[in-house]
Subunit: 183 residues, 2 copies
DNA sequence: GTCTATAAGATGATAGAC
DNA sequence: GTCTATCATCTTATAGAC
């Protein structure tokens, strides 16, 4: 039995991923949890606070997942496969995008702190991928490695986005296979 | 002096691109045009109708642009450069995404017809790119060409999305250069 | 922690006058 | 085509009781 704050974040995360920041309301979250909207405000004073909490929790989980991949070791290809697995996991429920991707499209109506967290998250991803590329191609200069990492990152994000438009997870898998060959 | 309906669509398109479907209101559009919200409803009965009109107009412009690229002829690389130019043009105003990309993330709250148009638009893009890939690699089988086309499409979409998070158009240019090398 | 009650404002949409 | 006026509903958020 998860705490109320946790439940609220779970539901908010799902709604953000399917409808975006502007697509959920305190009342809806409250009724799903089985409480009143005033009680949601007790845990998260403003809507921005709730979005920030959801974002922070997700980033923390993601950091842990990346650390685990690094810890398990193995080839660069194996690590990229595991990284792609993180994306695949987020597609699980169709019609949902990863939290940070959806929030990124809502950045114009988000509190400044959330936008900053979003930018930091992006940089973290590209840096991790850049290190991965460098580890496989020891003679490649840093700039080239970063460009390749950016391509991989963009392709995976685009692949996730595409699933929504083509209505099939296969699209993601096909792009993911091509991405693996890029490394 | 553009007609009122045109003006409404222009403003709606800008708002959809920066804040999404749920981020604009009839009253705001009306006050920007200099009329009242009831008059906006005269031209576009419902919010969904307005979104559909904006989407249809954009798709028509895009179709024309693709036809022009085909008409001008030249190498496959030249055509891909021109195709990438269509994306670059849409980034012009920072903090804005292409209409169809933004609407795609809002698909859960969009009228069914708009979602269908979105899916058709996606298919059109991948098909055009598939033909392009096939024209350069005459011996490549159709399936492989489509996979490569999907990769290119995903990477370009991801590149546009990334501009928002990294706050620099250079990110797009770097990925675009890598994409050119993929063909 | 959760509730009731309510504020204060925005929203999509319509009726009917001009 | 555009207006005024209005409806019914939803929104985030707060005050104060339990």
């Amino acid at each position: 039995m998860a705490g109320t704050a946790e439940q609220i974040m779970d539901i908010a995360e799902g709604l953000i991923r399917s409808r975006g920041y502007q697509g959920f309301a305190f009342r809806e979250i409250a009724s799903t949890v089985g409480i009143k909207s005033a009680s949601v405000h007790y845990h998260f004073p403003t809507k921005g606070d709730l979005a920030q909490a959801v974002m922070d929790r997700h980033v923390a989980q993601f950091d842990t997942a990346l650390a685990e991949i690094d810890q398990q070791g193995g080839s660069a290809d194996k690590k990229l496969k595991a990284y792609i697995g993180l994306y695949r996991r987020e597609i699980g429920k169709q019609k949902e995008l990863p939290v940070c991707m959806m929030l990124s499209t809502d950045s114009e109506v988000l509190p400044e702190d959330v936008v900053k967290a979003l930018q930091a998250y992006y940089k973290l991803n590209v840096k991790w991928l850049t290190d991965l590329v460098s580890s496989k191609h020891s003679k490649m200069d840093a700039k080239t490695a970063k460009r390749k990492a950016s391509l991989i990152h963009a392709a995976l994000n685009g692949a996730v986005l595409g699933v929504r438009s083509v209505n099939s997870k296969q699209y993601f898998e096909q792009v993911a296979d091509e991405v693996l060959a890029l490394l």
